[in-house]
């Protein structure tokens, strides 16, 4: 189940007028979430349009499994209607004159809504079925648009800037729903985004789009060590990317995640015991204290040692913390914390000092 793309677009005069930057792509997209990352105007939407058949490439081929969606040489160009590609637009593109129910049933009005009830319930829009799109919130509209796309039973799903324009709280809620999406959809999901955090929180694979075209997707924990990738997003070396395993899950949703033998706690609605997970901890979500705070909502307070401190011109200092092995199964672990330079001075942190790491949030990537 993979989508292979080898196309060029925008090399003709008429096309270059509308799209100043030509697009080249030679890559394969597999099952799971692939983030296609690039700045605004880099051609992400154009690329999505080309895949869905809303634009026609200048040359090349688009093939899903053995089905040719587009083949310039063989003069094959399937219309969007027969490509089985679900497309969720940035603005959701819900039909304003139809109810949520009618929107979902648009692809097949003969169908009854009951067929889609499991997914409607999973995305928690069952109470909105008789409402009109103008009367529901942005997050609800996005979920409706996703369910509507899934109701057409696509084989590939494209999410164009699905998380753009939402505030942080709404975004985190939607991220949980998007993780849920993977359980309800077993084809390739392409997520166009310019926000790097989205990539870390959701994607399995990352494909960069820049002036040279679309690069083949790479696993996310490989690409974060890629120099181009880091330069592209001005990432420093301080990203915390980890592998772990859910060792325990309590009824209240708190999971114990074992990372290299160290145990961390995190609230994860959809995770299951025994599942191996990839984790991402934002450096700014790790605080440092000299003594363990007693009354706090933070779940993870772990003893650590300052391994190194790096400062740049900005007001932020990165402190690398090492976590000691406390038994034979444990491997030493390091995490990077971002603190202000003011805090650094205030705490008078020194290399080798014993401190406590306060980890506010862990993102489980599934």
């Amino acid at each position: 189940m993979s989508l292979s793309v080898n196309i060029r677009y925008g090399f003709l005069k008429a096309q270059s007028k509308a799209h100043p930057r030509p697009i080249k792509a030679k890559c394969e997209f597999d099952v799971g979430i692939t983030a296609i990352v690039g700045p605004s105007g880099s051609g992400k939407s154009t690329f999505a349009h080309l895949l869905a058949g809303l634009l026609t490439p200048t040359a090349g081929t688009i093939t899903y499994n053995d089905k040719a969606y587009f083949d310039h040489a063989k003069k094959i160009n399937r219309p969007p209607q027969t490509r089985a590609i679900g497309y969720v637009f940035q603005d959701n593109a819900l039909f304003p004159h139809l109810t949520v129910r009618e929107n979902i049933l648009f692809s097949d009005p003969a169908q009854t809504i009951n067929v889609f009830l499991p997914i409607i319930k999973a995305f928690e829009i069952d109470h909105l079925l008789d409402r009109f799109p103008q009367t529901i919130s942005g997050g609800e509209a996005k979920r409706t648009a996703i369910v509507r796309a899934l109701a057409a039973e696509p084989e590939i799903l494209i999410l164009d800037e699905a998380l753009t324009g939402l505030d942080k709280a709404k975004k985190n809620v939607l991220i949980d729903y998007l993780k849920l999406l993977k359980q309800h959809f077993d084809g390739p999901i392409l997520m166009m985004t310019h926000q790097i955090e989205d990539v870390f929180k959701l994607a399995d694979m990352v494909s960069i789009i820049d002036q040279d075209g679309i690069k083949p997707p790479q696993p996310i924990d490989h690409i974060i060590h890629d120099k181009d990738f880091k330069n592209h997003f001005q990432l420093n070396d301080n990203i915390n990317f980890l592998h772990g395993k859910i060792s325990e899950k309590s009824d209240d949703g708190i999971c114990h995640i074992s990372i290299a033998g160290h145990s961390f706690k995190s609230y994860q609605k959809n995770a299951e015991k025994g599942q191996t997970v990839r984790l991402y901890i934002e450096p700014k979500d790790i605080s440092i204290a000299l003594s363990p705070p007693t009354d706090t909502s933070i779940l993870n307070i772990v003893a650590a040692k300052v391994q190194s401190i790096s400062q740049n011109e900005s007001g932020i200092a990165y402190v690398t913390l090492s976590f000691e092995a406390d038994n034979e199964d444990t491997i030493p672990l390091t995490l990077n914390a971002a603190i202000t330079r003011q805090s650094l001075t205030h705490l008078n942190l020194q290399k080798g000092q014993d401190v406590f790491a306060l980890i506010k949030a862990l993102s489980v990537l599934g």
Partner: protein
Amino acid sequence: MILSSYEMAAIGLSLKVAAISMMVIIPLGLAIAYGLSRHNFKGKALIETIINLPLVLPPVVIGYLLLMAFNRQAPLGQFLEDVFGLSFAFNWLGAALASTIIALPLFIRSAKAGFDMVNPHLAKSAQTLGASNVRIFTRIYLPLSLPAIMAGGILAFARAIGEFGATITFVSNIPSLTQTLPLALYQAAQAPNMEEQAFRLMVISIVLSFGVIYISQIWLNKSSQKDLSGQRL
């Protein structure tokens, strides 16, 4: 006010001419407006200019053009008469043709503005959801543009029922054959001792136009209020 048979003939002819015009204007105008709104092609500006020309040209110019093209001696007029037995010269069909050409651009402009307002992502979404082009038109563009289409229809109907210059030039002013209300009023206003007749025709014209526009306006207001409250159009 009891209407004379002379007045009844003028009213009947006016309504017939306007109704036939609308029966041509609505489907033709929708097709042209939709095509212009959804597609870009070479020479689009030229075609739009030609379509809008009757709005700015003196109607008498259109009437004279029609007379030149469709009179019985002209090749086109001869062809239509010989092949289809169709004649536009000096009959009510000619009056309907003149009204159609004069009123068509008003309808197209309004309908196209309505189609242009529809978010293009809706059509793209519908395509990826498997909707045919016909379904995209009937289920998305038509309902979402209905207020603009109705407004265009009202304008076009009003223009057709009031058409004077092109009609009198093309099909002349023949009572009960081509004499619509405005033409009858014109004749009465020109003739000596016909002041009362002219006044009656004027009142009839105002009442007729007022009635049509008023009813449509009520309907339009209702549908746009529904639109604001998120109800079905």
